[in-house]
Each structure stands twice: as C-alpha cells, then as structure tokens.
C-alpha cells in the first residue's frame, strides 16, 4: 500500500476577495434570517404561497440545496470508493461542501414551516409511515456520517477507515436522494407527483447539481491558492458532468414520454410542455440546464490539454448553467405541479368554485421568499468558507501554477 504524502492545510493567505465574499455572505444570511422572522411573525400571507400552491420558492431552494449537497459528495466518493486518484486532493473539500450545503437546505426547510418554533416536536415525535420522518433521519444521519468521513480523512490514525466509511456514505446519499424524490413521487391526488420515477430522476439531478457546484468551488479554491485547476482535472470534471447531464436528460425524457403515453396524465403533461410553465421547462431546464452545458463541455472535451488549461471558463459556464437549469427544473416540478387543478371529478367540467378548482392557480414568489431561499444558500457558503479557513482541507496538489 502506497503512503499518502499529500499535504493539506487550511486556506492560506486571506485575500481581500475572500474577505469581501465573507462579508456579502454574512449580510445575505442576516437578511435571510430577517425575512424568515417576518414570515413567521406575520404569517405566510406575506408570501406568494396560498392554500393551492402550498410549497413555494423556499421549498425550491431547500430541495435544490439538499440535492446539491448529496451530489457534491461526488469528489470524495470517486476518490475513496471508486479509487480515482485524480479527485483525492479535492475529497476533503467535497465532504465539507456536502455537509454545509445540507445544513443550509435544512435551515430553509425549517424556517418555511408554519411553526418553526416546534422543531423540537419534529425531532422527537415521529410517524414512521411518513417519508418526511424517514428523511429527518436520512438528513441528520448524512451530516453525522459526513463528519465521521471527514474525520477519517483529517486524522491519519484513522485514515484506513476512509474507504469503508466512504462506501457507507455513498449508499446513504443514494437512499437520501431517493427519499427526497419520494416526497414528490407518491402523492396520489396530484397526477404530476404520482410517479415513482421521481426518485431516480432526483438522483440524476443531484449528481448534476452536485458536480456543477463542486467544479465551481474547486475553481474558486484554486484561484484563492493563486493557481488554476490542473488541465487533467478540468477534463475529468468535464467528462463527469457531461455524462451526469446525459443521465438526467434520459430520465427526464422517460418521465415526460411516459406521462404523454398515459391518458390520465396527458392534460397535466400538456400543461408542462405547452402551458404557462413551458418557457421555464424548455428554456430553463432543457436549453439552459442540459443543452448549453452539454455543448460547452463537448467543446471543452475536444480541446487538447494545454488548451483546456486555459479554458476553465468553459467549465465555469457549463457548471453555472447546469446549476441554474437544475434549480429551474426543481421549480417546474415543485411549483408547476401545484398550479395544475386537481381532478376531483373525472369526466366533468368545474363551472364554479370558491377554491380555484376550475383553473390554474397563480403563484408569484414574494421578496421574503427570495430572502429566505438566498439566505439559506449564502449561509451554506458562509459556513463552507469559514470551514475552509479553519480545517486543513486544501491540498497543494489541488491547483496548478498559472502559466
């Protein structure tokens, strides 16, 4: 067995860019906290949510953060479970990022509750038929196992357990993402959310969003280390993200084609493909989230290594697009599915109702919701930036000198 001589240290010199980022993230987190306080104090009537669109933008952020957290573990998994040494210098970053993103996601989820002050009840009173209850264990378990995983990497005395703990965390994150997908997969009253394919679809979305944010963070850390990502790493990330995107596209196509095939789901499917959410679906999810990054990555993969070295910009753009497109996809799934009228009386037309049974529901997210969602993202990144400074997560091998 070869001895690992890679040295790690906390983020070195404090650049002004790092300090500015910290300040912005802190202010945004505080603003998010204020928005959450207002929502809790005044009630959800100040949001765009209603009794028809009951889960709004905070849920989109929370679900996106949770999926991204699970996917951000890709770097560590590939290094310690699949033995790809190229990702080893980034394994610690990957685990720390996964944990902090999940903390942010859970924070948003809790702050959007009608009674966030009753968190203790949610943590102590369980209904084990509820997928939500399972997820409480899956999420807290992920954070616990993530900390153990990171500890095995940080402490050389327990280094030998890294691959075994890594394998356990890998399985755990698959189950976790399945659990998150199942929340939106077994709602019998909403035909758009009554599809078991949601679980694998969410796993595919998770690896796309996670790889994308990991690539962005790796590039940022390399920059803070006054270097750039090595060309081989850029190419490896490009290939990984490319195949993750194709997997996502595959599951998305199967999902929508199967909906078109089943008569019961055709009306809802036509709404997604051609209704008010069509622009978001086609231009947000398909074009921005899949086609554009695929084209950018294909171009990057075709370049020779020295050229790729200078073209991290392509990876940056592809990752950013994939991340945004992923969030749009979550928006279409979570919000779009709630705006479709629920079919209570098949074969009949609703001519009058005081509760919007006849038509599509409207939803416009309020500034408070944007605040809570963005606050959660910023809090995650703030935690990550601080952990980066406190723990030896950065490897010298993680960046190459600028030519």
């Amino acid at each position: 067995m070869s001895i690992d001589n890679t040295s790690y240290q906390p983020l070195g010199q404090t650049t002004s860019g790092y300090l500015w980022l910290l300040l912005v993230l802190l202010l945004m987190s505080i603003a998010g906290g204020y928005c959450a306080y207002n929502m809790e104090h005044q009630g959800h009537h100040i949001t765009g949510m209603t009794n028809q669109v009951v889960w709004g933008l905070p849920h989109v952020f929370a679900v996106s953060l949770i999926l991204t957290a699970s996917g951000a573990l890709n770097g560590a998994t590939l290094a310690s479970v699949f033995g790809l040494q190229i990702y080893k210098p980034y394994a610690r970053l990957s685990v720390a990022l996964a944990i902090t993103l999940l903390v942010g996601g859970l924070l948003v989820l809790v702050l959007d509750l009608g009674r966030p002050d009753r968190l203790a009840i949610a943590m102590t009173t369980y209904n084990f038929r509820s997928i939500f209850s399972w997820n409480i264990f899956l999420y807290t378990g992920f954070i616990f196992l993530g900390v153990v995983y990171l500890s095995t990497m940080l402490d050389r005395k327990i280094n030998r357990y890294t691959s075994r703990v890594g394998a356990l965390v890998f399985l755990w994150r698959i189950v976790l993402t399945t659990g998150t997908g199942c929340i939106f997969g077994f709602l019998v009253g909403r035909s758009a959310l009554d599809a078991a394919i949601m679980a694998p679809l969410f796993i595919a979305l998770s690896v796309v969003m996670g790889t994308a944010i990991l690539a962005l963070v790796m590039m940022l850390v390399a920059r803070w280390q006054r270097g750039i990502l090595p060309a081989a790493v850029v190419n490896a990330l490009a290939t990984l993200l490319f195949w993750c995107l194709l997997t996502l596209l595959y599951f998305s196509v199967v999902h929508h084609l199967s909906n078109l095939y089943v008569a019961e789901h055709q009306a809802d499917e036509r709404f997604v493909l051609g209704g008010p959410f069509a622009v978001l679906f086609w231009f947000g999810h398909i074009v921005l989230g899949v086609v554009v990054p695929l084209l950018l990555l294909q171009r990057l993969r075709g370049l020779s290594q020295p050229a790729a070295n200078k073209n991290t910009g392509l990876l940056l753009a592809a990752s950013g697009a994939a991340l945004l497109g992923g969030m749009v996809m979550v928006y279409v799934i979570v919000i779009g599915s709630q705006t479709v009228p629920q079919t209570l009386f098949p074969g009949k037309i609703v001519t009058a109702s005081s509760f919007g049974d006849a038509g599509f529901a409207a939803y416009t997210p309020s500034l408070w919701e944007w605040g809570v969602g963005m606050g959660g993202v910023c809090f995650s990144l703030l935690l990550f930036a601080m952990v980066l400074k406190l723990l030896p997560l950065c490897s010298e091998a993680a960046s190459a000198a600028v030519e």
Partner: protein
C-alpha cells in the same frame, strides 16, 4: 502500603442506617407511584366504559344527495363557518375553507350538479400517512383530525390530500371558538363537528343542520357501520359513490347522483 482507615464502627452503622432509610423511602415511593398509576388507569377505563369512549364499532360519515343540493345555495358552508368561527370573506386562495361548493357539468351529457366538498374522512387517509409528527390522525370512529399541538405547519398533508380539503392558516386569528382551537401556521380541515358528535350522537354536524334548516336535507350524518342506521338504509336505497373512488381510500363521505 497500609490503607488509612479513619472511619469508626459508629460511623459505619449510621451510614448503613442512612442507606437503609433511603432504600425504604425509594421502595415506598415506587409503590405509591405504581399504585396511583394503576388506580388512575382503572378509573380511566371505568370512565371510558361509562361515557362511551371512541371505538371502531362506529364509523361516522356523511351521505350527500346531490339531487337535493342546489347551485346557488351555500347554507352548509355558512353553517360550518359560523360553528367554527371561520371568516366568510377575504382572499379565497388563502382563507380557510373547510367546505366549498363546486358546480359541475358533465362533459358528455351536459347535465349539471352542485356538490359540497369537505374532508372525506378517508379510511386510508393520505394526510395521515404523510404527516411527519403524527399530528394528522384518524380516530377509531373514522374521523380524521389535526392535533393542533403537534402540527408543525409543514403542509405535506395539503400536498397529499386528493380533495384539496385542508387549509393552512396564513394570518393571525383572534376570537377563536373554544370548540375550534385554530391558529396561525397550522393546518386544519373539517372535523365532522367532532365536538358535537362527542357530546351526543343526536347532535348532527353544523353543515347537515344548516342544510336541513334550508329545507334541502341533502346532507345526512350517521354511522356507516350500522346497517340499521338512517344513513346506511338511505345509502342502500338510493345508492352512493365516492369522489375519486379509483384511489381506493374508502372515504367516510359518500355522494349520491354524481
């Protein structure tokens, strides 16, 4: 090395006596607590037997005869709102609606009907399944309720309800009625007027009373489990179906003429 034992036999005796005293005190306490608990359980059992506690012998439900329900009438909605202190006005999308009237037209025949829709008190209630804290629960007699003390306002039950029968309270409420402890940030729905039913089986839910007062008598309340009940005999006579019967939720609210 010799051990330095400074305690005298007198001290040992007093220590032993203290231990014995504490042990006896503990035993006495445990006996008292367990006896009290046993007495309490016994008393509760006796009380339950004498007051007719909730059992699965009965299954409360409603029969709605749509042929008697008229399009312009919302007496059941008003009756429900008055009984539970629910506002009649405000934003339709955010205010609580335990019952709503829906007017329907058949796509093929063009025939029109009007139906009140409320919590269907499902036997296999999706809202009960998904609730993470168990705040959404079904009583032994089939009434589906929300425990307002443990509801965290996650709204998963609203996502799961096929009938859109649940309301989330978006604003601060004042002057709530004692029988309907409603509050901001929690979810609520039709309770089948459980406070009336528990007081006396002859007390009908407010919607049924209001409908009868309006001389429509389209809503009939009763025990689905008792074949001799007025509800069961009427259902047998005129026939009844469930809303979204395909979901196989075995609803407690049945409709005639859908």
């Amino acid at each position: 090395m010799q051990k330095n034992n400074s305690s005298s036999p007198q001290t040992d005796k007093s220590l032993l006596a203290r231990r014995r005293f504490l042990r006896n005190l503990g035993l006495l306490g445990a006996t008292a607590v367990s006896s009290f608990t046993l007495l309490e359980v016994k008393a509760r059992e006796q009380k339950a037997n004498t007051t007719g506690a909730v059992t699965a012998e009965k299954r409360w439900g409603l029969l709605i005869d749509t042929s008697k329900c008229s399009s312009g009438c919302d007496a059941c909605v008003r009756g429900c709102n008055e009984e539970h202190g629910i506002e009649n006005e405000g934003n339709d999308a955010t205010r609580a609606q335990w019952i709503r009237k829906i007017d329907l037209k058949d796509k093929l025949t063009g025939s029109e009907s009007s139906v009140p829709v409320m919590c269907q008190h499902c036997d296999s209630a999706p809202c009960v399944d998904v609730c993470p804290t168990g705040a959404s629960f079904k009583r032994a007699d089939g009434i589906v309720l929300v425990n307002k003390h443990t509801c965290i306002g996650c709204r998963y039950c609203m996502m799961a309800c096929p009938y859109k029968a649940r309301s989330f309270i978006h604003e601060t409420l004042t002057n709530q009625k004692p029988a309907a402890p409603r509050g901001k940030g929690t979810v609520e729905s039709c309770t089948l007027c459980v406070h009336r039913v528990d007081r006396s089986e002859d007390l009908q839910p407010a919607c049924a009373v209001a409908c009868t007062d309006e001389a429509h008598s389209a809503i009939l309340f009763g025990d689905l489990n008792d074949p001799q009940s007025k509800l069961a005999t009427k259902m047998k006579e005129i026939g009844a179906s469930q809303v979204r019967a395909d979901l196989q939720l075995n609803t407690g609210v049945r409709y005639h003429g859908l």
